[in-house]
């Protein structure tokens, strides 16, 4: 298992290099003058442009810029924005709200999604099964920004159950409604996936054996569920990255100052260093979560061995 983990970590290196290069290239290809509007209404003084150009290696070919950037990254220097603030500070401010939001969303997704999936999967064709299938299909079909506005309007403005926007410091209680919105689509997928897997596994021989030897129903279900969870866990792992990156819409609607919003505004103001650092961070988190998921397989199913 140790060897397997090391091999997987080594495999991450080319992936991280590849993704950062792609992001870097796309940022570099962004049109427009990076100094436009940086010095008020008048154009920037030439001395300033020259200094900044030298500082950010803007005159070097793309590949040289990239290598220099990666060199700095490895020493822990994420670079500065054109405004002069440090990228790492910007990330440190934007990260906690996004992490909180993602944690709430993942928890909701796991708890509600798996419960709904189990209820539906155990009684295929029943009323509750059809209810779960139909409601999840509806949730999947409605775009997240529509769900977001509806939830904000109904639960935040009309009913007043939740604050409609998130306050400064993004306290946990304010993030519940956005977390539910962010989780909604993945929740539906988790429920459907659990249902299909469980329905299939409950017809397997080992479940019949367990029932035949007189195990209580709850234990039989546990047998089936454990085997059904592998694809579900896989999905949740892949979804982790999608939630962090996809939070840009939810963050916008509920006024959360998170990573998604930071990347979005940085793309528009051509803050290449911030964009690259933030997306690289999301990519690395995504890769690590997926490695953890792969290692979790062995816990869920001891028959799996890592070579």
């Amino acid at each position: 298992m140790g060897q397997y983990t090391i091999r997987r970590l080594l495999q991450m290196i080319p992936v991280v290099i590849g993704t950062t290069f792609l992001i870097f290239a796309a940022v570099w290809a962004l049109p427009g003058d990076p100094f436009a509007g940086k010095c008020g209404d008048r154009p920037c003084p030439e001395a300033y442009v020259a200094e900044q150009t030298a500082r950010y290696n803007l005159d070097d070919p793309l590949i040289v810029q990239y290598v220099k950037y990666m060199g700095n990254l490895l020493t822990g220097d994420l670079g500065d924005t054109f405004r002069g603030t440090r990228v790492i500070d910007e990330l440190a401010v934007a990260l906690p709200p996004t992490l909180k939001l993602t944690i709430i969303a993942i928890t909701v997704e796991i708890v509600i999604g798996i419960i709904a999936g189990v209820l539906a999967g155990l009684r295929r064709g029943s009323f509750i099964d059809n209810l779960v299938l139909l409601s999840t299909l509806v949730v999947i079909s409605i775009p997240i920004f529509v769900i977001g506005y509806l939830a904000q309007y109904i639960f935040g403005v009309q009913l007043g159950w939740f604050p409609p926007t998130v306050g400064t410091g993004a306290p946990w209680s304010d993030l519940i409604l956005p977390g539910l919105v962010l989780a909604s689509v993945s929740l539906a997928y988790v429920a459907r996936l659990t249902r299909t897997q469980l329905a299939e596994n409950m017809r397997a021989d080992y479940v019949r054996t367990a029932t035949a030897k007189g195990l209580p129903r709850s234990q039989v279900v546990r047998h089936g569920l454990r085997n059904s969870l592998i694809p579900v866990v896989t999905f949740i792992g892949i979804d982790f990255g999608a939630l962090m990156g996809g939070a840009v819409v939810t963050e916008g609607i509920f006024n959360i100052k998170g990573i998604g919003g930071l990347v979005f505004s940085s793309i528009q103001t051509r803050e290449g260093a911030t964009v690259t650092a933030a997306i690289t961070f999301i990519v690395i988190v995504f890769l690590i979560v997926n490695l953890l998921v792969d290692l979790l397989y062995g816990v869920l199913d001891p028959r799996i061995r890592y070579e």
């Binding site: 796309a26 990255g241 962090m244 979005f264 995504f286």
Partner: protein
């Protein structure tokens, strides 16, 4: 965003294949070969192919019928919007701004005083074009890479899989925002070019899932006896792929592609909603929803109708894909 059963890192797939070899039957892979399902148990008479079997199932599935009708109506709407409305969606009068629905304009008027019904009908075209083109593009890119890496294996597979990993790790939404900002559109850009840019951004980040499904499907098929037989008879790689591997490994790819068609329409709307996908003067549901969002409390009709059409479209495609998947999956028989 589609069938998650079939995604997984190469290692996850290796684990699953390990299972297959060990004889465990409970790890689901959607790749089902024609051989496995050609002869349903208890079915006497002429053996039917997987697709004929699925068709028998689908014909009687109400979800499939509803989905097909909805999709057909939407496609006609996209092709011939004039059939549904005689109002010009671009003739607007500011004096009608934000008027609620009335007998004159069933869905009311938007901020610019344009007829919401006409704009919603005309909006179908951009959304459906983006959905179809993106799905076609990801099927070609993902399918090719999946076949090559699954069929040839070894070094080819390692390189292709790492490339897939790189693109898979990039978040779809943030990545397409970045790409679309790098290649911006203005009001003068021709409509098809604007649509093409959105398709490009979504396809370049979206093909990975299909590549993985295709790869695992091909790996399963290529070890079948009939492929070995064809090889033993001296068939070239080309012939084996086009005549034997491709037709038998296509089913799971088609299912996922149908489901993701709906998802791409949703993604396009999200990008347009953020103001960087399609741009006016292109008429699209995402743009309409973006324009309406500010006024949702005073004029909800401006948001409601485009959002409803958008949701129904995504719903129709996902439902269709779901029905086809159930029909093609013999485990549920």
């Amino acid at each position: 965003m589609s069938d998650p059963t079939s995604t997984g890192t190469p290692d996850q797939q290796e684990i699953r294949q390990e299972f297959m070899r060990a004889g465990a039957q409970n790890i689901a892979l959607p790749g089902v070969t024609a051989e496995e399902s050609a002869l349903p148990v208890g079915d006497v008479g002429k053996p039917r192919s997987l697709w004929q079997d699925a068709w028998e199932d689908l014909r009687r599935n109400p979800l499939f019928i509803i989905g097909t009708i909805l999709v057909l109506v939407l496609v006609v709407m996209a092709a011939f919007p004039q059939l549904f409305t005689s109002v010009d969606p671009r003739s607007c009068s500011l004096s009608n701004s934000r008027q609620p629905p009335s007998s004159e304009a069933w869905f009311g008027y938007d901020l610019q005083g344009c007829d919401v019904y006409a704009r919603t009908i005309y909006g179908a075209r951009a959304s459906i074009l983006v959905g179809i083109f993106t799905t076609a593009a990801v099927m070609v890119i993902g399918g090719l890479i999946g076949i090559v890496s699954g069929f040839f294996g070894g070094w080819t597979d390692s390189i292709a899989s790492r490339i897939t990993d790189i693109f898979l790790a990039l978040p779809l939404l943030l990545g397409s925002i970045l790409l679309l900002t790098a290649f911006p559109s203005t009001a003068e850009t021709p409509e098809l070019v604007v649509i093409g840019k959105v398709v490009f951004a979504l396809a370049i980040l979206g093909w990975t899932q299909l590549a993985r499904i295709m790869r695992s499907s091909v790996i399963q098929v290529k070890n079948q006896d009939y492929v070995q037989a064809a090889r033993a008879l001296g068939a070239s790689s080309n012939r084996v792929i086009t005549r034997h591997v491709l037709p038998n490994s296509l089913a799971p790819v088609i299912v996922v592609a149908m489901i993701s068609l709906g998802a791409y329409i949703g993604a396009e709307a999200t990008l347009s909603f953020l103001g960087i996908g399609l741009q006016p003067p292109v008429i699209s549901w995402g743009i309409a929803i973006n324009d309406a969002a500010t006024y949702v409390r005073t004029s909800p009709h401006m948001l409601f109708f485009p959002a409803l059409f958008l949701s129904v479209t995504v719903f129709a495609f996902i439902m269709l894909g779901d029905a086809v998947r159930d029909a093609l999956d013999p485990k549920l028989r």
